[in-house]
């Protein structure tokens, strides 16, 4: 610029004006192409130069693109040429190859005597303006060269500006896209959290993916456990089969551009123009694979697109897992609710109040565990004024056991008014249970009828833990074990044998289920019949209800209050 001012006086007003107007025009322009075209046309027009060109360096190379070329030449715009000298070899803007003994590239055949003007800013070389000699083969005067130099400087600044402007525009656009991507993810995470329907989540994922990445074909294969399923897809010619899905799952995690080797292995990917695969991880485990085609505008998928794909995929998978957990929780709550209902029903099956029995002090209790169990007991008066008490235990736990126990209870109550012996009744119950329950379901059952006028107990034991009888004057226990087979195991072949015992004053009879004897201590020890017998013997002076309470507390204490099974206990004392 200093040169320009120093020699400014020599310029005609016209030239100054041109310079001023041109510089304003160029500086204000944001189009590189416009600047270059004007630079070339103005210099050629003013200097009467018939051939000229603009060469722009390919960044980082010694090659140049012929961006503009005017005048007869075998080269055309877009061609590349080499410049045999370095961009920073010369201080001056103008380079005269002939004078410097350099061989310039032949831009115009047979016309090599032109000048190169370095298009550069203080720290950046852009390229060259080439001007041939004038039409009359005259060289440019020093004054004219100065003018072109000035224009070259102004143009270089203008080009740099316009380049920066488009770079900024590009960066801004990328930023806008990024912001938009984040907004999309943010909105979708809110949307997904409101969705409880898998299909809705899958379809939202699909549309968001297609829209955001501008793709037409994709699939999402989900593998929650070891089961593969196609959760969402679009634009495929057909869905992948099980083999293809597992092959796709076997490929390396993230493939930004699929190669021939992949296509050869899984032709499905090629047929459907799938270009990239992204793996989705949950807790370090690969749970899904998304495959996408190239963008519909033929652009390659960028790393940022790939990141978006993974984020969106993770969101969708998380939401789907969340809905599954929700479904499981609802199901669990429903089951718990059902079990509570079952427990209430079961509780109603036990007798509300124990009838007063002449010559007998009787107390009974059932302590249910967390689950519904299969224990059963009953004490009822028969039409003939005597009493029946029963105890039973259905194999297994839960609803099936409870149902069977309810069944037994109703059979017993149906048969109660019927004038048949215990033995006959047991045979019928056994047949009904055998016919109507699966073969792995049995009931251990003990029941007895107490004829109070005779103090006679008529009993049948069908496979139940033998009730313990401790005579008033004895320290030895008798076991009531006569009867027959466990209920439900096989049809009644031989009749169930009834046995009579008398219950006298002070005699103690204890009926129990295996919840008592098979209670374990923390050390894994069994409560066992021995301990039960000991508890009875040591507390034989107590009334029935106190004795029962004492035994229950002893068992609870033994297990450290960790009862795993139902406990049922009937304590009878002759009175």
């Amino acid at each position: 610029m200093e040169k320009l001012t120093r020699s400014g006086e020599k310029h005609s007003r016209f030239e100054l004006k041109t310079l001023l107007e041109t510089s304003r025009l160029l500086i204000e322009s944001r189009e590189t192409d416009f600047v270059l075209n004007n630079l070339l046309l103005i210099t050629m027009g003013k200097m009467l130069v018939p051939r000229g060109a603009i060469l722009i360096q390919i960044p980082g190379k010694s090659e140049y693109i012929i961006t503009k070329i005017k005048g007869k030449s075998e080269l055309s715009e877009g061609d590349t040429i080499k410049i045999p000298w370095g961009a920073n070899d010369f201080e001056s803007i103008v380079i005269d190859p002939v004078e410097l003994d350099l061989t310039p590239p032949e831009l115009f055949s047979g016309q090599n005597r032109g000048l190169f003007f370095n298009l550069k800013t203080s720290n950046h070389h852009l390229g060259y303006l080439y001007l041939s000699r004038k039409g009359n083969d005259q060289v440019l005067s020093a004054h004219e060269i100065e003018f072109v130099e000035s224009l070259s400087i102004i143009s270089s600044v203008a080009i740099t500006n316009s380049r920066m402007f488009s770079e900024m525009r590009e960066i801004n656009r990328k930023l806008d896209r990024k912001v938009y991507e984040l907004n999309t993810l943010f909105d979708l995470s809110k949307d997904f959290s409101l969705m409880v329907d898998r299909d809705k989540i899958a379809s939202t994922f699909k549309f968001a993916l297609l829209g955001q990445l501008l793709i037409r074909k994709f699939f999402l294969i989900y593998r929650p456990d070891d089961k593969l399923e196609l959760m969402a897809s679009s634009g495929l010619l057909r869905n992948p089969n099980k083999t293809e899905m597992s092959q796709i799952f076997e490929l390396p995690d993230d493939i930004l551009d699929l190669q021939d080797e992949h296509y050869k292995l899984i032709p499905f990917l090629k047929e459907n123009e799938i270009a990239a695969l992204a793996a989705l991880q949950m807790h370090g485990k690969k749970v899904a694979v998304v495959g996408v085609s190239k963008k519909a505008n033929k652009e390659d998928l960028a790393q940022t697109d790939f990141n978006f794909l993974q984020s969106l995929g993770n969101l969708a998978i998380l939401s789907i897992q969340k809905t599954q957990l929700l479904e499981e929780r609802i199901e669990k709550e429903r089951l718990e609710e059902e079990i509570n209902i079952a427990k209430t029903i079961q509780k109603g099956l036990f007798p509300d109040t124990i009838p007063e029995i002449p010559k007998m002090d009787l107390s009974a209790r059932n302590i249910p565990s967390d689950q519904v169990g299969g224990d059963y007991y009953d004490v009822v008066q028969t039409p003939d004024g005597n009493f029946i008490f029963a105890i039973g235990d259905v194999t297994g736990k839960g609803i099936p056991a409870a149902l069977l126990m309810a069944n037994l209870q109703s059979m017993l109550h149906v048969l109660l008014p019927v004038d048949i012996t215990l033995g006959e009744a047991t045979g019928r119950i056994n047949n009904l249970i055998h016919e109507n329950t699966p073969s792995d379901k049995f009931i251990t059952f003990f029941w007895a009828k107490f004829y109070h006028s005779e103090s006679r107990l008529n009993y049948i034991n069908a496979g139940h833990n033998p009730p313990l009888l401790l005579r008033a004057e004895s320290d030895e226990f008798e076991e009531l074990s006569e009867g027959g087979l466990i209920l439900g195991a096989m049809p009644t072949m031989a009749s169930y044998e009834e046995t009579d015992v008398t219950i006298n004053k002070g005699d103690i009879l204890v009926l129990f289920t295996d919840g008592i004897t098979e209670t374990f201590s923390k050390n894994g020890e069994e409560y066992d019949e021995k301990r039960l017998k000991k508890a009875i013997t040591e507390n034989r002076e107590l009334k029935a209800d106190q004795l029962l309470e004492t035994i229950v507390n002893d068992v609870k204490e033994f297990s450290d209050n960790q009862l795993s099974d139902d406990l049922t206990l009937i304590v009878i004392k002759g009175d």
Binding site: Y180, D187, D197, G211, L214, G235
Partner: protein, 122 residues
């Protein structure tokens, strides 16, 4: 089931060979299926010259754009097209940002899209 219905409406007009969907409100993940249903219905009825007039469209999310991506190939494969018109600037910016203008005909006015359909039919 919990669904949040946002404000989104489709008004369907048709003349001769051209179907016009006037969409208004917010087109996002929750409302995308509505537009999908409309497009599917048209395709099923072999009505492939579709103009989507967006003059009252206030907001569009990626999921909304995705619906257009999902059906454009079907429609073009059948010799038709989906042309978009009358977008406000904010909505156009979203389309532009994601590169839609290179793939779809987007016009300022519905008539221009109509003309284009008429010209290509002749």
């Amino acid at each position: 089931m919990l669904t949040v219905m946002k404000n989104f409406h489709i008004n369907h007009r048709h003349s001769d060979e051209i179907e016009v969907l006037e969409i208004s409100g917010e087109l996002d993940a929750h409302t995308a299926s509505k537009l999908e249903d409309s497009l599917k219905t048209l395709i099923d009825k072999n009505r492939h010259n579709i103009i989507v007039n967006c003059s009252d469209l206030e907001y569009i999310a990626s999921a909304g754009l995705g619906v257009f991506m999902a059906y454009i190939e079907d429609v073009r494969g059948l010799g038709g097209d989906i042309k978009l018109t009358n977008m406000n600037e904010r909505v156009y910016n979203v389309f532009d940002l994601l590169g839609f203008p290179t793939l779809y005909d987007i016009f300022d006015e519905e008539e221009e899209a109509v003309k284009q359909f008429q010209n290509s039919d002749q």
